[in-house]
């Protein structure tokens, strides 16, 4: 990433709990010829093509003690991430999210496929140092321990990275703990240190694995803010997280993995529209039977003294339409006491596409066989 000049539009922002600077002014590098954001967003920065990987699980037998069997993995994963985008990588446990991040960060070799970063193709980042130079990884919950300090940790990693630490600790809000033993850092502080290690060397691609784990709400907000600002500067960010609400307010796009396949990818609004997740009205009431009065498609109903129905309308539920329906029901003797246009989040997308309902993570859940095509808005 080019260095030298600096953005001037970033102001001092404070990390409220520590009362220290999150983004110091003039601390982050600016590209020499910055591209307009609209252009940046259309350019594929990270391109994954038919990436496949199967875990090898030891299955020793008396005749063959070193025998291994193929386990879960990734199957023909392909997607593009536009430059400067923030993409959420979601999916149930065991979907392959961490495996994908490990391949992208060069920790494991894929069986087949390729990774293209800024038009430079890599077959196996584990063996190609130049590719790893472009990627920063923040792994899932690192347990920092020992008498070393955050400053020493970053210095050590900078020797591996051939880069300078600069004011990374200040950037992530750890400057006041720079010389404190790792053993004394809280989980949240440890996460901030992990974030600093990912930012070392100013990578073009950032991979975050469950970055919100252990962070308090204030720190979560600050991390989101930092992530957005890095993306605005052209860094492409892929975030795997189970905290779907946190993710939804941050990401531009999502990739949903299930059983090692990309089930769905695209902008959240487009996916919701495609899955018809924003068109459902939940009505609850007492007295009468509302079913004959409703002309829209009833998805679900329960009439037993009190009644409850879910109604779908292709055109969505405007205030006028809602008022009209409620008036109609009241006039005909049904008394609605609860009217709710169902808001959906990523968990609904997960549920709608994978068939996994709530805590049901059994093998009986629907296994997607092909990627669902979603139009970009």
């Amino acid at each position: 990433m080019p260095t030298g000049n600096h953005f001037s539009l970033f102001h001092i922002r404070t990390w409220p709990d520590l009362n220290i600077s999150l983004i110091p002014p003039n601390s982050l590098p600016i590209p020499k010829n910055p591209q307009p954001f609209s252009d940046i967003m259309t350019e594929a920065h990270l391109r994954i093509e038919t990436l496949s990987f199967r875990h090898q699980i030891p299955a020793p037998t008396i005749r063959n003690p070193t025998k291994k069997r193929l386990g879960a993995g990734l199957h023909n994963i392909s997607f593009d991430l536009p430059k400067g985008s923030i993409t959420g990588l979601v999916g149930p446990n065991g979907a392959g999210k961490t495996t994908l991040l490990h391949i992208l960060s060069g920790l494991i070799s894929p069986d087949s496929g390729s990774i293209e970063i800024a038009n430079e193709k890599f077959r196996d980042l584990k063996k190609q140092d130049a590719g790893r130079n472009k990627i920063g990884l923040m792994p899932d919950t690192v347990r920092w321990q020992g008498n070393s300090t955050p400053k020493q940790v970053l210095h050590r990693l900078s020797l591996m990275n051939n880069s300078k630490v600069g004011d990374l600790l200040e950037l992530v809000g750890l400057s006041s703990r720079a010389d404190e033993a790792l053993d004394r850092l809280s989980t949240g502080m440890g996460q901030r240190l992990s974030l600093a290690t990912a930012l070392l060397g100013e990578p073009e691609i950032l991979l975050f694995d469950e970055p919100f784990t252990g962070l308090d709400p204030v720190a979560q907000k600050a991390l989101k803010q930092l992530t957005r600002e890095l993306a605005d500067r052209g860094t492409t960010i892929l975030i795997s997280s189970h905290l779907l609400n946190e993710l939804e307010s941050l990401v531009d796009r999502v990739i949903l993995l299930h059983h090692g396949q990309v089930v769905i990818e695209g902008e959240i609004r487009a996916i919701k529209r495609n899955l018809k997740l924003d068109k459902i009205l939940l009505l609850k009431g007492e007295k009468g039977n509302p079913l004959p009065l409703i002309t829209e498609k009833v998805i679900n109903s329960s009439i037993n003294g009190n009644w409850s129905i879910s109604v779908e309308n292709e055109d969505g539920w405007s205030r006028k339409r809602l008022t009209k329906l409620v008036q109609k029901l009241s006039e005909k003797g049904c008394t609605p006491y609860h009217v709710e246009v169902k808001t959906t989040d990523l968990s609904d997308i997960l549920e709608a596409t994978t068939g996994i309902d709530g805590m049901d993570l059994s093998e009986h859940a629907m296994v997607p066989l092909s990627k669902m095509e979603v139009e970009e808005e």
Binding site: L107, L137, V142, L159
Partner: protein, 274 residues
Amino acid sequence: MNPILALAFDDAWSKARSTRMIILLPLLALFILGACWGLSDPDATLPASISANTPFEVLFVASLFILLSSTLGVVLFGFDGISKDRISGVLAIQLSQPMARRNLAVSMLLGTLLPVLIPTLVLSLLGIILIKVQMGEWPGFADIALFLGATTLLLFWYATIQMYASSLAKDMGSSISLGIGAWLLFTMVWLLVTVLLASAFGVDATDTSNADFEEFSAKVDLLSPNGVYHLLLEMRVGDDISRTISPFWVVTSAVGWTVLPLWAYIRRFQKMGA
């Protein structure tokens, strides 16, 4: 500075300030300096089978104490050299850095070796001064070079074995078991292994001082880093101690112990996931 060395020294310096070093350093001083001082004392009475009449013979016998203390030091620093970082998740961050895995492996190995090797060599040199004070003469230059070189090799072999074992371990329990187990095998129970093998090959093992057994044990010692260390030193001790094995095999074995575990360790490190 070369990044491998810079990283190794950084790692070694971090280990040198650790609690483990506070435990190890007095132990090394006590064993190495104590052995050199005590064994070179003209008034000291040694067990009948041990003779330490020249400065190098004192060093030779003192090497037993190095085998006990310095190798234990390498185990202390090396048993979790990789497994700790792997369990904590730090290894994933390290492996994702744009440094060739081979270089990273070598720097981690040196980072484990140096914090034990440097004090051991410094204390050995101090021990040589103590021998001079007690006996009035220095060991020969070649003797000192062989002693320090063989000690360096011994600790290098142990560091490699420990790092390899640590790369296999996926939890702290197996990490400790593999580390201590390898040390116990070569340091404590190797004689038992030798006796068992001798019995299996029909060599009389009821009297460990008979010539047949000594010749056999020298051959079996080629398979142990401690054994090769002593065989290397025996090449400079008088004929009365030296066993009947060709220096060619001793040197070949030393080269083998240097190259093969290092190759296995680097190969393992390159294949390793986080």
